[in-house]
Symmetry: C2
Subunit: 332 residues, 2 copies
Amino acid sequence: MTTISDVAAAAGVSVATVSRVINGNANVSPETLAKVTKAIQDLNYRPNLLGRDLRRTKSERVLVLLPNISNPFYSEIVKGIEDVANRNGYSIMLCNTDSDIKREKKYVKMLKTRLADGAILMASEMSCEELTELSKELSIVQCCEYKEGVPLPHVSIENEKAAYKATNHLISLGHRKIAFIGADNQFLSSNLRETGYKRALSDAGIEIKPAYICYGNYSYKSGFRNMKRLLDLPDRPTAVFCVSDVMAIGAIRSAMEENLKVPDDLAVCGFDNIHFSWMFNPSITTISQPMYDLGCTAMEALINIIEGKSSEIVNYFLEYELIVRSSTLKGY
Amino acid sequence: MTTISDVAAAAGVSVATVSRVINGNANVSPETLAKVTKAIQDLNYRPNLLGRDLRRTKSERVLVLLPNISNPFYSEIVKGIEDVANRNGYSIMLCNTDSDIKREKKYVKMLKTRLADGAILMASEMSCEELTELSKELSIVQCCEYKEGVPLPHVSIENEKAAYKATNHLISLGHRKIAFIGADNQFLSSNLRETGYKRALSDAGIEIKPAYICYGNYSYKSGFRNMKRLLDLPDRPTAVFCVSDVMAIGAIRSAMEENLKVPDDLAVCGFDNIHFSWMFNPSITTISQPMYDLGCTAMEALINIIEGKSSEIVNYFLEYELIVRSSTLKGY
DNA sequence: TTGTATGCGTTATCAG
DNA sequence: CTGATAACGCATACAA
């Protein structure tokens, strides 16, 4: 491996001078600049980041922890994060936690060990206590999913209201028997979406039937299975609100297997607006989260923390949108 | 930030002793072990990886460069990579290059600067010359897409034969007017798949019609658009082979818009076997790449290189599979 | 069993 | 404008 002193030797100067050249320091004569530049070229030298970052105690790298890269929902968010990061000279590295707290902590450890300057957490499995502890020493922003009462900024949408809007859309189409396929996890959004669903029903004077409420794990299969169960009910629902598009797809396939027509016999509303929700046939009515903006905002917040521009903890709630398509309304 | 000397001071020992404790060195008395352990706990100390790796000249980290995390094709591969990495004590970090050679080189730079021990390249935009140059100093494995004649191992499938098999499936169903939607990029697989398609036609004594051959960019829209064009042909094809599932989905939606039935009026075959290919309605006939195994094999090969277990360049071709579903054959 | 001293590759300070 | 040198945090050869 060629080091800065190799270059210095080759150019007949000191390492300090080479360092100045590398970092674009102005105080270097044209001749030495040329000599050093040539030596760098000749030796194909690249500064060792480990040495540099150790000295600078700054890496200009940021970790993005997400549960699963195969979830298309995250792709757009990551794009937003990356764009803002690149604009500001940061590199981002994606860390797949697989919703495994052990893996997650391994990556958090890299943060503690200064491998990166900060992190964006997309759906952390850590407890409020753990996160609070981390907040004292690390630069962290929560994105989409977040824990409340933790002294960390978060960026997300108002899930309760979004779910209310989705449910209300189904009600406005004349549905009264509206089922709900939620998620049985620890995340706040799951609760909020269920609350929004229930509030919409209540506000419309519709009785909340426990039999119409079930829980999956965001997967196609769980959507399929739960829908099957709902359709087996003596008084089957005519509409269903799923808290993810992938579950909505599962629900639709389930209905099709029973020879039901969507939306005529069953209206289906999803959540997230992933690409496949409009590619699918029928295209899926859904709540669109501003994924790209969520990513941008999270990264901007993180940079503010890292660079100490603002010490206060700001929480952002971005705008969502109901996108009506063929799975609830014909011809869309 | 608390360092090893803080711990040493707190425990009343030297930094060397603390280092021994951290690294599980046996030569440490039970009492000092206890003292040091306590100090580490009390100060909540974590060794600085930058310092450690700089000293060890080894990071036990590996970079995975991929063009786009939103392509579901890569998710399973990454899972395989991660599992093998974790089993062997490596951490992996995903790097989204966005098919941008500048971004790609930025990450490669991190390799050169010893931030990671090696990398898996999924669809590099770099030239053969550049890759050859890199091969001299870095541990790199190519996965799925690869450049030929470069002294780097690669792991993939035999794309030509796979495409032959897919096309032949359509022929065996009685189709003679078979179109091809390929990809207009620099990747070897694109050429090989086209070659396989043509060879299948030739072997069956079917004339190759240039009008039946068109190119997209793996996206839904390009599949949709190209199919539209094909269907506008005076002598429209009755079957189409797309080199990606997403383009196949686009093609199917295109056919549906023309009120054509799949597979009756148009049989569609994709490539990759992404999750959505079976969730889609109709489910999509496709070539299944052993994505998980591709990832495992690539990571194993990389570890071999990094740890110097084998110096020869081995290329792996894994088994693929034709998965027949409803988009070509009814009732599947 | 423990401590001292050195070096990993940089950058930054300070003197010249 | 340039060079010598200390320091970043850690691991390790060597000495004790």
